[in-house]
Point group: C2
Chain length 358, copies 2
């Protein structure tokens, strides 16, 4: 299979570089070689065994219901809260805010194209009109944007078979051949990226070269990263870190410059289109200029208090299927594609999430 | 300035890693050192001299007017067509299609969240109902997804001062110190990226190490890449390459796996919100299931035939200001930020475009 992949890849590369005339010749010359059909990333995910899917506890879901749309259709946004050890101070605040029904009656206040949709108190900056926050919220220090790496807290592993084509292309692809699964690789942001508990993270660490051209990374600090759909905590100027009352989600190309500058507290797993397709605000930073432009929030609750909520599962990012899926995202060989990319940035490998019957 | 940048950066890094108590102490200990204020990327662009802005010819604009929105507001999308040497076969077809008013009365047929908005003939797949294409369209070969590099066609340059912080982080950052401006760096997709004539491109090439830890890249082939807002040509299965009649624009995280697999023919420079904020289609791949869900296209014309079209300019990606802007995108030091990223992927460095008075 691997051998065939490589043969196919070479064949495709050659084809793509040929002129039309030569291409026709090549097609004529190889009619007896049947074209191998590779599954798409979605087909790979669909074939995952049940034990590779991980249930998301309803207690880890934040469910935001918006006012119905112009046609009366319900709009529900389901957010998976960030697991420990990340951002737990803010996540605790968010649980308190939801328990106090704090967001009910507030609104989506800002939608900036290719950036974020943000919600909270439209009068939050007005000392007189601002809605009073519930008691018990903690002030989280900036140091909590980073999580120290402690052995056993987060595992970084790289598959022997995943990203095999990257292996050919890049000598600086860090890998640890003792383990399996989970991608660890470097990107334009000059740190390493991986998945931890299904969330995209980045980390600094010491790269060491091992025998036979292998590499190992020992992380020091770790932080979650701003991919599409990630949910973060609006804040004022440093050293303010935000309470969690003002939240946003990414609706454009990953704004990775926000990493380590703002807390990330979760990701939208369903209904992001109710935020990403809202009209863009015409004020500075995409804030709505008129109150009537805002979309009202009907309620925000933690999942276990909602009786009609489906159950959700994510595909374990440490599973064999995820490795295959990530490899296929990085090297599309399903029939539409003629040239595998040879790599992928972590935000172009969205973690599969599905509804399941309770 | 460079020295101060580095001191500031170190100070900020240290701060971010400290506990709250230590952080307060540090603030107390350095009250006499005034905090240097760095301009934001937008402020850098606003200060660019007039001669760094490049006029976009109206003949290189494709202007799509959609039916007014529910409130009667006009919706205009302005696309800058890809300059030579890229994709000119398809661009020529698009000029012919616009001259024939081919898109008038057609529609936005597909909006898939975090992916693309696509327009063309809703009956395009129906041999009987499909709208007849104008005469004279050419069939472009797949080989045209790639452009051979010929000296003088495309210049790759890297600034001495831009990305100075990346220089500290990454030994594998390729640079050519004889030249100035324009970013050349590697990313997760295992090729080099840069700007050419203001468009984001990627290329393969030979990396050579030069004295004093410098690097040089000699490109072989070059291709445009799928950043947010880029416009591409829908096609059927290979070897079909599309005519240009079916177009899409990227409305999510850069789908770089499409690079070299589909032709890119331009980018939206104004009005992308009229596409990115459309309701998502609920059919497979985000296609609309009912005709009434589609947004009608009133007209598509080349810019010089539109009397009320403003003039547009882009900031030269070979200008000194662009280097500073790109550096600031990669290393945010304006007041909101506490931790510069240390890098940026090319799709997180959007090229500034502005309207100007005629």
């Amino acid at each position: 299979m691997i051998c065939n992949n490589r043969q196919m890849k070479k064949f495709i590369t050659t084809l793509a570089l040929m002129s039309v005339a030569t291409l026709s010749q090549a097609t004529t010359l190889v009619p007896t070689k049947p074209k191998e059909v590779f599954p798409s990333p979605n087909e790979i995910v669909a074939a995952a065994p049940a034990n590779e899917w991980v249930a998301i506890a309803a207690s880890d879901l934040l469910v935001m219901d918006l006012a119905p749309d112009a046609k009366g259709k319900a709009r529900r946004v389901v957010i998976q809260l960030m697991p420990a050890p990340f951002s737990q101070g803010w996540v605790g605040n968010i649980r308190k805010l939801a328990a106090a029904k704090w967001w009910d009656g507030l609104a989506i206040v800002r939608v900036q194209d290719n950036y974020v949709a943000q919600w909270g108190d439209p009068d939050g900056e007005d000392a007189v009109k601002a809605k009073k926050l519930p008691a018990g919220l903690v002030t989280v220090p900036e140091s909590a944007y980073l999580t120290p790496f402690t052995e056993g807290t987060i595992k970084f592993k790289t598959g022997k078979n995943s990203f095999s084509l990257i292996e050919e292309f890049s000598k600086d692809f860090p890998r640890n051949l003792e383990d399996n699964h989970v991608i660890v690789y470097s990107d334009s942001y000059k740190n390493y990226t991986a998945f931890s508990r299904s969330f995209p993270i980045s980390f600094k660490g010491q790269l060491t070269t091992e025998p036979t051209n292998n590499y190992r990374v020992t992380p020091t600090t770790v932080w979650p990263i701003h991919c599409y759909g990630m949910v973060g905590v609006g804040r004022n100027m440093s050293p303010d870190t935000g309470t969690g009352a003002e939240l946003y989600t990414v609706i454009g190309h990953a704004p990775r410059h926000l990493d380590r500058n703002i807390a990330l507290v979760g990701r939208v797993i369903e209904g992001i289109e109710h935020l990403s397709s809202l009209p863009r605000g015409t004020g500075a930073l995409g804030f709505y200029e008129k109150p009537e432009e805002r979309t009202a929030i009907t309620s925000v609750r933690i999942g276990q208090s909602i009786s009609d909520l489906p159950a959700y599962e994510y595909l374990s990012t440490e599973s064999a299927t995820f490795s295959k899926y990530a490899d296929a995202r990085a090297n599309r060989r399903d029939p539409f594609f003629i040239q595998p990319a040879g790599g992928a940035d972590i935000c172009n490998i969205p973690v599969p999430v599905r509804r399941v019957k309770k």
